[in-house]
């Protein structure tokens, strides 16, 4: 196991990524501020509480997903192209240390991000939530981790940061169109429905809808959560496969 991961190296990697973010005030500000700003805009664009109550929670799941996707894909691409990943591969760092370092750092970050949006939404914006705040936070952080894991994986296919940023619309927008946010998934053409069934964001949005409508933590919600977690682990495994000690 020692080569696969070591708690000390994973922790050091988490601290290092958080230190990098600490130095980058602007990114940190954008990470926390942008979702909040968008929620506030959304609230006043809709201007009716009922519509906001329906759409708001879905976006609470979507924002962390999209933002973490971009930050993780650009961040790991920098490590790949900047030689730091290669340096780490000559040290005892395991692939899992590297991936979990990102997962913990971004998991913590998304907790802050979601916390701020949530406080603003529940107080100032008057979001009405049927389910518990805890389950909403759970789903939102899972969504963020899913975005991060997909971003890590996607970064393997980018050579430049320009390409990495382009992957956001390529990986994410089709999922946004098909996830049930714009049109309920039940009313989609069957072939689109099938596609949306295998896309992770569909489950993220479904979970958020349940949290906003259902008072209890239902089995269907549990299923959504498990599917999102499964997709996240799968993406991390694929990401690990793209980290190579030896390259051409």
């Amino acid at each position: 196991m020692s080569s696969v991961m070591s708690p000390a190296i994973t922790a050091a990697t988490t601290r290092r990524i958080l230190a990098q973010l600490r130095h980058d005030h602007r990114t940190l500000g954008l990470l926390v501020g942008v979702p909040s700003l968008l929620m506030i805009l959304l609230r006043y664009v809709f201007d009716t509480g009922a519509l906001f109550d329906r759409i708001g929670p879905m976006l609470l799941g979507l924002f962390p997903f999209v933002i973490m996707f971009v930050v993780a894909s650009v961040g790991t691409l920098r490590e790949r192209t900047g030689g730091t990943l290669e340096r780490l591969m000559t040290t005892p760092t395991g692939k899992l240390d590297f991936l979990l370092g990102y997962a913990f750092a971004f998991g913590l970050l998304s907790l802050v991000q979601v916390g701020v949006v949530l406080v603003i939404s529940l107080t100032w914006l008057g979001l009405d939530l049927a389910g518990s705040v805890a389950s909403l936070v759970l789903v939102a952080v899972l969504d963020a981790l899913l975005g991060m894991a997909l971003g890590l994986f996607a970064s393997a296919f980018a050579r430049t940061e320009f390409q990495a940023v382009q992957f956001m619309p390529a990986f994410v927008l089709p999922q946004v169109l098909l996830c049930g946010l714009l049109i309920p998934r039940d009313s989609m053409a069957p072939w689109l429905r099938v596609i949306s069934d295998v896309l992770p964001l569909s489950y993220a949005v479904d979970a958020m809808q349940r949290v906003s409508r259902e008072a209890s933590f239902s089995t269907s919600l549990l299923w959504d959560v498990l599917v999102i977690a499964g997709f996240t682990l799968g993406a991390l495994a694929l990401g690990a496969a793209t980290l190579r000690r030896r390259t051409g």
Binding site: R16, H23, G83, T91, P92, R246
Partner: protein, 243 residues
């Protein structure tokens, strides 16, 4: 430690990059505690050879044995230090934060980050963000990371590029000191005036080793006044008698 095992033993190494042969049947050995110079023009394969030594290069044929183990083995990852030609440190962290991180990864002693920062002469810049360092300072920060944990073998890819003569002198003094303590160093350079400071020289050209000798032997054997002339002599010799 079994000192009779060479620090580095390379035999029949062949590497293809981008469809083209980059190393063609390279073989050499480096005894422990020696300073081996890898000298040759840009593009001759120095970086590729160093990547083979640290085990990050896919090789087509041959064996690379480092400190008695196949290059890149798990057991070697704390015993070999590598400083890349293009600096590989985090530009958005300070010098000290970088060293702390790489030190933690290598389980180096807690005092190591400060030690290596002093050794490369970056004491005044320890809390400076790496992205704001000058080129020479950045190179030294990159070198410092390779010194963490006192590795037995140091693989340094053009560590003195862009440094003024005084700093270059200081770094070579450091390399000699490390070698005196038993560390083996493989140092690449594309400038000849550094070659004279090594114990042994590998003169490389187009993926092949033209000569493997001490600087003195080289000038004596070729009957030339300096290493530049010796290198040219060897190239002409090779051109006249194609293998």
């Amino acid at each position: 430690m079994m000192s009779f095992v060479p620090a580095v033993a390379v035999a029949g190494l062949r590497v293809v990059r981008g469809g083209k042969p980059v190393l063609r049947d390279v073989s050499f050995e480096a005894p422990r505690g020696s300073v081996l110079g890898l000298i040759g023009p840009s593009g001759c394969g120095k970086t590729t050879l160093m990547r083979c030594l640290v085990g990050v290069q896919i090789v087509q044929a041959g064996t690379v044995t480092v400190l008695g183990e196949p290059a890149g083995s798990r057991g070697l990852r704390r015993r070999v230090g590598y400083s890349t030609q293009i600096p590989a440190v985090y530009a958005d962290l300070t010098v000290r934060e970088n060293m702390r991180y790489f030190g933690a990864v290598l389980r180096a002693p807690r005092t190591d980050p400060d030690r290596v920062i002093e050794e490369v002469g970056l004491g005044d810049h320890r809390d400076q963000v790496v992205g704001t360092l000058s080129g020479g300072q950045l190179n030294r920060a990159n070198l410092a990371a390779a010194l963490l944990g006192e590795p037995e073998l140091l693989v340094l890819d053009e560590p003195t590029v862009g440094l003024d003569p005084v700093l270059r002198e200081e770094l070579w003094a450091l390399f000699r000191e490390l070698s005196a303590r038993g560390t083996t160093l493989v140092v690449s350079s594309h400038v000849m005036d550094e070659a004279g400071r090594t114990d042994r020289l590998l003169l490389m050209r187009e993926g092949e080793i033209l000569a493997d000798a001490s600087p003195r032997e080289l000038t004596e054997r070729t009957g030339t006044a300096d290493l530049d002339a010796a290198f040219l002599h060897l190239i002409h010799e090779r051109a006249e008698s194609p293998a």
